[in-house]
């Protein structure tokens, strides 16, 4: 009929990724709930666009409808999203999932900032997860304290904040394209990275010598789901509701998926002789202290940095309160 809507969604990953799990759930929900009025067309990989900047540009001009990115991928257009890369702000999954829920102080603020910065072209639909938590991993030694990071060449994406973080910890940030990372570990061009365990195992990095992982969980790997605003607003309200609920389903799927996937990944890592270190609360506190200059850097150098930083902290405080209350209630 004349109301048929096709949504073209893309993720620059593969079918093993949480992004794909999320999209499958989204597609299934939206197509059923709209009774076939909406079709979701998925492009997994780089057929349509091959990095955050390119894809976001496609969202802005409507050549692509839905796209998912990590914060690093879109930090050129939206520098403030790097608030998700700030270390040690969220303590665990339950806090993160509550703080990132749509309607939270933080997510609402982030949605407003995305819409404003993009001149109303781009809509942030939801923030899910991709790959669990970011940890430090390296080829050289077990890292227990910030001092152990001294001098390590750590791969980062080409973006300010991750580089500032690595510098704050006394290591040396080195931008390396993702496809060259394996070789670069092997040859020693870089000695470490900050990734989730599933990425580490999918890319077979331990074969290249990446054998030390410190589970410092410094950042929650938020996955930002964007949509072309005109496309969204051109639908009638019923359809918009289906889309919004579809993104809720997607978010829940991506929250859950890495937890399940990382179990096998950790087992495989250790089975291959990898060294998995869980820092003590004291050691974690030492990391947090060493990383503190990055908070100031972020607030001073990123437009809207202070606002979004405060919004996240507020949302985390709210989340902790809600969770603690619920937990107390469950205990008795």
């Amino acid at each position: 009929d004349g109301h048929a809507i096709t949504i073209r969604a893309t993720a620059n990953s593969n079918e093993n990724d949480e992004d794909y799990d999320g999209l499958v759930v989204f597609k299934n929900y939206v197509e059923q709930a709209s009774n076939g009025a909406i079709t979701v067309e998925m492009f997994i990989g780089t057929q349509l666009c091959s990095n955050g900047t390119e894809c976001l540009q496609g969202i802005a001009d409507g050549t692509i409808d839905v796209f998912v990115s990590t914060s690093g991928g879109v930090s050129g257009a939206f520098p403030f999203v790097q608030v998700l890369d700030l270390p040690y702000l969220m303590s665990d999954d339950r806090v993160a999932e509550t703080a990132l829920a749509n309607g939270s102080t933080f997510t609402t603020k982030m949605q407003d900032m995305v819409e404003e910065t993009s001149g109303g072209a781009i809509r942030l639909m939801t923030i899910g997860n991709t790959g669990g938590w970011r940890n430090f991993a390296n080829t050289q030694r077990r890292v227990q304290t910030p001092a152990d990071m001294e001098g390590l060449k750590i791969r980062t994406v080409v973006a300010d904040l991750p580089q500032e973080l690595v510098k704050a910890l006394g290591a040396s940030p080195t931008p390396i394209p993702w496809p060259e990372l394996f070789t670069s570990f092997q040859t020693g061009v870089v000695e470490g990275s900050k990734n989730g365990i599933t990425d580490i195992m999918n890319m077979k990095f331990p074969d290249a010598g990446l054998n030390y992982v410190t589970l410092d969980g410094h950042a929650y790997m938020g996955a930002l789901w964007f949509m072309n605003n005109d496309k969204f607003m051109s639908m009638d309200e019923d359809m918009r509701r289906v889309i919004v609920d579809g993104f809720y389903q997607l978010q829940q799927a991506t929250f859950a998926s890495p937890k399940r996937k990382s179990i096998q990944a950790y087992e495989d890592f250790q089975a291959a002789g990898g060294d998995l270190y869980v820092p003590t609360p004291d050691e974690k506190a030492a990391f947090k202290e060493a990383a503190a200059p990055v908070y100031d850097w972020f607030k001073a150098n990123i437009d809207g940095g202070e606002d979004i930083f405060n919004a996240l902290n507020e949302a985390v405080a709210d989340a902790e309160e809600t969770i603690n209350a619920a937990r107390e209630a469950d205990l008795n």
Binding site: L56, D61, S75, A77, A121, K153, V158, A159, S172
Partner: protein, 195 residues
């Protein structure tokens, strides 16, 4: 016909001049690209302090180098094509086919110029991830380079290609009147060979 020949001559002169300037800049960009990447190696490998901007700066130069020099390659016949069919045909019919091919190329370029304009304009929204003009050295705020400045390279490239394409169409038309000898020859400085 004399008017058309005059227009062709004028356009040929403009193209020759503009493309020469483009080549001049491209030579510089090619050289600087190498220097920037050597600097990158030096900082990372020798000083263990990787430069955050070198990669993007070099890409910036590569894109502009391409946009500014590729039209010279086109004008000098360096775009790869299977030339057997046009060469096998008699002169007039071959010229007719050439004209058709040039018109197709011209259509592609006209559409590309329109899309390129939109592309450039969409680039004002986005900052480059690492390129900044260090205005803080002068006590002002750091200015981030907009991606539009990079997008402009291809836009300028297709405009120049279109200009060359129009010249080539006019030259082909002159062939029908057997007047192509009255036009200044295109004198390539060197052969262009792809791959």
């Amino acid at each position: 016909m004399p008017i058309m020949l005059a227009v062709t001559r004028a356009l040929a002169a403009v193209n020759a001049l503009v493309l020469a300037i483009g080549r001049f800049i491209s030579i510089g960009l090619m050289g600087f690209m190498v220097l920037v990447i050597l600097l990158q190696v030096f900082f990372r490998y020798i000083l263990n302090d990787a430069l955050p901007w070198s990669e993007e700066a070099a890409r910036f130069m590569m894109l502009w180098m391409t946009g500014l020099v590729a039209p010279s390659a086109y004008r000098w016949g360096g775009f790869v094509a299977i030339e057997m069919v046009p060469q096998m045909l008699p002169k007039r019919i071959g010229a007719l086919l050439m004209l058709f091919l040039l018109v197709v190329a011209g259509l592609v370029l006209v559409v590309a110029v329109q899309l390129g304009w939109k592309h450039v304009n969409s680039g004002w929204l986005f900052n480059s991830s690492s390129l900044k003009i260090p205005m803080d050295l002068f006590g002002m705020k750091v200015v981030r380079v907009k991606l539009a400045w990079m997008y402009m390279s291809l836009f300028v490239g297709v405009i120049l290609l279109l200009s060359v394409n129009v010249e080539l169409i006019l030259r082909t038309l002159a062939k029908f009147a057997d007047r192509e000898d009255e036009l200044p020859e295109i004198k390539p400085l060197m052969a262009v060979e792809a791959e």
